[in-house]
Each structure stands twice: as structure tokens, then as C-alpha cells.
């Protein structure tokens, strides 16, 4: 699954594409499945043709998590939430199920950063 994101020019707000418009909530983003690459490309091209509305238009990869879908990359989850050190700032302030699902999502790394690498004699 994919969604398409950008930053709004006038204030820098993170926005997502939804059926002809840019919306602020990740939960409202239009989803693109397998075989919709051409649509994704068309929306990105359309976004790039709106230089006075948005900047940095690009698709993001999503994966299923408990409670819905979330961006695979941590960076995109933070863009969809707001800063984790200030839980009342940014989009996360509205709360709700989508926000909770994003907060608890994990990436695709398999390693958990092993520390037991040296055998004590």
C-alpha cells in the first residue's frame, strides 16, 4: 500500500493526497494498492504541478499494523504524528485510533540490537 504526502507551501504542514485535494490527517489519506503505480505517478506529477500549494511531493510505503495501516519508515510515522517529545504538538493532538496505531507501529528491521555478544569466562 502507498499514500502520497507533501508539505504545504504556506505553512509547511504535512499533507496527504485524498481524491483531488490535500488533507492534513494521515487517516484521511487515499490509499493506493498493488497495480496502481500509474495512479501514484499521476498524483505525484499533479502535485509537482501545484508549486504554489505544496512542495516535496512523494509516495510513502505503508504496512499493516495493529489497528490499521502505518508508514513503514519511522520518519514518515513522525511526520504523520508530530514530535514524540511533545505529545500535544502537531497532528497527534487530535488523538484517536489512527494516532494510536501510528504510535505503536514498528519498522521492518529484524535485529533488535543484540547486546549479548561477548561470552563471559
Amino acid at each position: 500500500m502507498k499514500a502520497i504526502t507533501a508539505n504545504r507551501l504556506i505553512d509547511g504542514e504535512v499533507v496527504f493526497w485524498k481524491a483531488g485535494a490535500w488533507v492534513e490527517g494521515f487517516g484521511d489519506a487515499q490509499l493506493f494498492g498493488e497495480g496502481q503505480d500509474a495512479e501514484v505517478e499521476a498524483v505525484v506529477a499533479n502535485g509537482k504541478a501545484q508549486p504554489t500549494v505544496v512542495v516535496d511531493v512523494y509516495p510513502i510505503d505503508l504496512a499493516p499494523v495493529d489497528g490499521g495501516l502505518a508508514p513503514i519508515s519511522y520518519r514518515e510515522r513522525i511526520r504523520a504524528l508530530g514530535p514524540t517529545n511533545e505529545p500535544t504538538h502537531g497532528k497527534q493532538a487530535v488523538g484517536g485510533e489512527v494516532i494510536e496505531a501510528l504510535r505503536h507501529a514498528a519498522g521492518a528491521a529484524r535485529s533488535t540490537g543484540r547486546v549479548d555478544l561477548i561470552r563471559r569466562k
Binding site: 507551501l9 509547511g12 519511522y74 511533545e86 519498522g107 540490537g113 549479548d116 555478544l117 561470552r119
Partner: protein, 552 residues
């Protein structure tokens, strides 16, 4: 402190008007993003993850109360009520709207502040010892020379499009609180054999993906030649610095490629071609700048304050604060007071609008209207009378600003990281908060002693992790945050680059690993060794074992 004259003020207003027109043209579609981006960056405006970020220059980290209050007002009016002090003594606001930026620049210009040259491939804000003009250690006041360099470098036509950004730091003291050895140019004021003043000139230090402790290319440069010599350095760099690869474009790469000796030879050769009388600052102008900093009106006070001694004897909290946050002043009866922006669990370097107003009031009332920002993301009240220390401490305590942890394990430098920054790979702030909580017990923190922990969310190293006693670098592995630890760095006068401890750790394992490192240090330290000293004596292995060995 230095005050702007009418020409400076007119210039700032013109510059702000120019940017207002540029923003209007961008919003109207007359400028493309590619055309506009360098223009907004020249005014310190970045596009970050959630909004625009405005970085405001605080020349050599020095503010007056009026300026600090204006920053508080901007935080409240245009941001979410707080600002973030950076490792280059600047302040950043994280929630700025493009449409508001010209109004903010106007508001800054009214108090002689701006965001010029806080981004772009130019000479950035010159940083200096935050104890300047207050410490007895200093040979000369580095603010004088910082201001000279600031005026010279602002909109310098020859050096506005360098291969890459260029950062200069100055200290007048042997104790290096300005990280001069990891700057593009580091200047240490020295006294010559004839008693005159000069500079040791260090070039090509830096952090980022290729960290270097800069070599000294001239051990003594008579101070009056500063501008011509810096001009010669920048000319050699501007001519030969690489422009084909952004990662190899800083002067440190050129200095390392040529070797310090050859680089120095080229600088001296270039310097020989410069008309020194034209390039150097006239003595009259230097005297004018110097006079602006010589006006600090200290009172003649006894070295010991009965009021302070009485209050201290009665208050363990004040005793702790004095042990950690209060430093000796050159003037009898005065002290330098560090204000920690590292309360346990807080975002390192953040100050709320209310806190900024509290320190502004304290600076005005108790510190000769002088407030400083340190590269460790704390504030300094440089000139507090010992008589006033109990009152200052009480006011700081009421505002949540009296954490007595300067240079202790919870005084952590952290970049904004992935919570805000478009370049970051991992978060830095929550890691700092986790670690600080491990040292929330102030007795334990003091027992551990000086321990400089610094965290960067990416290899650009804004969080100075390379020069930390314990450095932490965030990396991205398939969308998960991992952290690489390094030990043994220092950004002070004993500068060194840290060495990587072992494989990266997941976010939840970082604070326990720091705990393990500190416990091992406490086990093996000899006498009053700092963590850094113990590391330098025993090396990496005992610490590696402490973190990576299997539990019994």
C-alpha cells in the same frame, strides 16, 4: 554589549523588506521552489518535518533582556510557546509558517536580531566562550574579536558562496568552552612574548561524517592581523575547496588532503599578497568595538558575601547549585551562574516563553542586562553579585530552571533529531530524556562527576557526538532507529574524536547501556579521574565488555 548603529538598523529593515517581497513572489508563483530555497535559507528559514524552522543568530551567544523577551514573544505568537537553543549558541523555532516569517524578521530587527547567515555556504554566526568578559582566565575578551569578524563577514561579497558552510569559534581562555578545535577556524587568544595579544590559529577541525581535531597552522598571529589572515585562509579554501562533492566540500577535507603544513604554506603565501593595511581593521574601529564591551559597570565588592554565605549554610539545594552551576568571576563579589536547560525529562536546550522571560528579568535585574547561550545548550547569567545569588537561585527554582547538573551526566547535548529535523535518521531527544532519568538522583550524578553525553540523530553531528565522553549516533535500519555508541571524545581543550564501542543498539537499550558504562567506570576509576580520564587510561575493552557481555 555591542549595540547596533543606525546603519546596522537600516540594513536589517531593508533585508527584512527584501525577504517579504521574495515570500510574496514565491506564494504568487513568480519564483519556483528551486529559486526560492536559497533565498529563504539565506534568512535562516528551513523546511523541516512538521513546519518551517527559523534559526536566529545570537552573535557569540550574547543577548540582552529586551532581546530575550522578544524571543519569548515570538515563541508565544508564532510558535507553540518554546524555542530550542542550538550547539552553535543560536535559537531555533520549530513551528514557523512561511507566511509569518517576514513579520518575525521585522520583530527581530526591532531588537537588533536577525537570521542572516544562519544557513547557506557562507560564514556562519561566530561563536565564543559564553564566559567572555566574566572569567578571570581570559587573556582578552573574545566578544571583541567575534564582533569584528561578524561585521567583516556579514554579506562579505567574496565569501558569500563558499564551497560549503564555514564556522568560526573563539576563546580567550585556556579552558575551551567554545569547541574551537572542531570548527573550520578555531581561534585561541594568546599572549605573545612581548606581552601583546595574538591568536593561535586552528584550521580544518570539524565533525560530520569525517571528524577532525583541527591542526594549528600558526601558533601566534598578532591580533591586529586577524582579518587579513582569515581572508587569506578563506581565499585558499574558496579557490581550492571541492565543489563537486558536498561531503568533501568543507575546509577540513582540503586541509587533510594538502596536509596542515602545505595548507599553512599556501595561506602564508596568500597572506603575503594581501595589502594588510587595506584588509586589517583600523585601530580606531577596533577601539570603538572594544569600548562597547568595556562598559560593564562592576561594583567594588568584598570577595566574600555574608548574605550569600548565610543562605548557603542553610540550604543544601543552594549548596548543590553552587557546586555545579556557579563558576568563579574575575571581579570580587561576583559569580558566573549557569542556567541548565536540562531538567530531568525535559527536551535538552528547550526553553518556554515563560522561562525566557524569567531569565530575561534575572539578567536585567541581577546580571547587568547580559545573558549568554552556551554551545552545550544552556544559558548563563555572567555577572551575578554573590549577594544576589540566593535570590537568583530561588527565582530559577520557581521557574524549573535550577537543575544543578552542569557538565554532569544529565546535562546532555541533543540535536532536534527525527522529532523535528528533515535530515535526521533517528530521534535524539527521547534518548536524552531516558538517559537523564537514569541520573535523576542528583547524588548519583555528582558521584559520577563530569560526564559529557552528546547525541546526534544523524551523521551531520549537530549533537557533537564525536566529541562526547559518551557519544550516541542515531542511524536508520529498515525504518527502525538504532544507536551507535562511541567513547573518549572531547570538544574541549583536550579535544579528541571518540571511538565506536560496538554494534548499534535499539532505542530501549541505550539508557541501560549508559548505565552499564557508568557502573563500570565507577568500579575501575582511580582517584578523582573523570570518565574520560579512566577511558583514556584503560581503553575501550572494559567498557565494551560492560555493555556487550552476556548476563551471567
Amino acid at each position: 554589549m555591542y549595540l547596533y548603529d543606525p546603519i546596522d538598523r537600516e540594513f536589517l529593515i531593508d533585508r527584512s523588506n527584501e525577504f517579504r517581497h521574495q515570500v510574496a513572489r514565491r506564494l504568487a508563483g513568480e519564483l519556483t521552489e528551486d529559486q526560492f530555497k536559497p533565498l529563504r535559507l539565506m534568512n535562516g528559514l528551513y523546511l523541516q518535518l512538521h513546519a518551517y524552522m527559523l534559526r536566529i543568530a545570537i552573535p557569540y551567544g550574547s543577548l540582552n533582556a529586551r532581546q530575550a523577551r522578544r524571543l519569548a514573544w515570538i515563541a508565544r505568537t508564532y510558535d507553540k510557546g518554546y524555542g530550542h537553543f542550538t550547539t552553535r549558541q543560536n535559537i531555533q523555532f520549530n513551528w514557523i509558517k512561511l507566511k509569518d516569517a517576514p513579520d518575525i524578521l521585522d520583530a527581530l530587527a526591532e531588537v537588533d536580531l536577525h537570521a542572516i547567515q544562519t544557513s547557506g555556504n557562507c560564514i556562519r554566526n561566530v561563536t565564543a566562550d559564553p564566559y567572555a568578559g566574566a572569567t578571570a582566565e581570559e587573556i582578552d575578551d573574545p566578544r571583541v574579536w567575534s564582533e569584528v569578524l561578524r561585521q567583516w563577514s556579514t554579506l562579505h561579497p567574496e565569501f558569500s558562496f563558499l564551497p560549503r558552510k564555514f564556522k568560526i569559534a573563539i576563546t580567550g581562555a585556556l579552558t575551551d568552552r567554545a569547541a574551537v578545535k572542531v570548527h573550520d577556524i578555531g581561534l585561541i587568544l594568546r599572549k605573545g612574548r612581548d606581552g601583546a595579544i595574538g591568536f593561535e590559529v586552528i584550521v580544518g577541525g570539524g565533525q560530520g561524517r569525517t571528524p577532525y581535531v583541527g591542526p594549528t597552522i600558526r601558533s601566534y598571529l598578532p591580533a591586529e592581523h586577524l582579518l587579513s589572515y582569515v581572508e587569506a585562509i578563506l581565499r585558499v579554501y574558496n579557490r581550492h575547496g571541492r565543489r563537486d562533492n558536498i561531503y568533501k566540500a568543507r575546509i577540513k577535507i582540503l586541509v587533510a588532503a594538502l596536509g596542515a603544513e602545505e595548507f599553512a604554506r599556501q595561506v602564508e603565501e596568500e597572506w603575503g599578497k594581501i595589502d594588510h593595511a587595506r584588509a586589517n581593521l583600523p585601530a580606531s574601529e577596533l577601539a570603538r568595538v572594544r569600548a562597547a564591551f568595556a562598559q560593564t559597570r562592576f561594583e567594588a565588592l568584598p570577595a566574600v558575601s555574608d548574605a550569600f554565605e548565610t543562605a548557603r549554610a542553610a540550604s543544601p539545594a543552594l549548596q548543590r547549585f553552587v557546586r555545579n552551576n556557579v563558576k568563579p568571576h574575575k571581579q570580587p563579589g561576583y559569580a558566573i551562574v549557569e542556567v541548565s536547560l536540562k531538567a530531568i525529562g525535559q527536551t535538552p536546550g528547550d526553553a518556554t516563553a515563560e522561562q525566557l522571560e524569567v531569565v530575561a528579568d534575572l539578567a536585567e535585574r541581577y546580571s547587568l542586562d547580559d545573558l549568554r547561550v552556551t554551545h552545550a545548550q544552556n544559558l548563563v547569567l555572567p555577572h551575578v553579585r554573590l549577594d544576589d545569588l540566593p535570590a537568583v537561585h530561588a527565582a530559577l527554582e520557581a521557574a524549573g530552571l535550577a537543575t544543578a547538573n552542569i557538565d554532569l551526566a544529565s546535562d546532555i547535548i541533543a540535536c532536534p533529531g527525527l522529532d523535528y529535523c528533515a535530515l535526521a535518521n533517528a530521534r535524539a531527544i527521547p534518548i536524552a530524556q531516558d538517559i537523564a532519568r537514569k541520573f535523576a538522583d542528583p547524588d548519583r550524578a555528582e558521584k559520577v562527576g563530569e560526564l559529557k553525553i552528546k547525541i546526534s540523530g544523524c551523521i551531520n553531528a549537530c549533537g557533537h557526538h564525536h566529541v562526547a565522553h559518551i557519544g550516541i549516533l542515531g542511524v536508520d535500519k529498515k525504518g527502525e532507529e538504532f544507536y551507535q555508541l562511541s567513547l573518549g571524545g572531547s570538544g574541549a581543550e583536550d579535544a579528541s574524536i571518540g571511538r565506536i564501542l560496538g554494534p548499534g543498539l535499539s532505542a530501549d537499550k541505550v539508557a541501560p547501556a549508559i548505565d552499564a558504562l557508568v557502573d563500570r567506570y565507577l568500579d575501575i576509576r582511580a582517584g578523582d579521574e573523570r570518565f574520560l580520564d579512566t577511558y583514556r587510561r584503560v581503553g575501550l575493552e572494559p567498557f565494551k565488555e560492560a555493555v556487550y557481555a552476556q548476563a551471567d
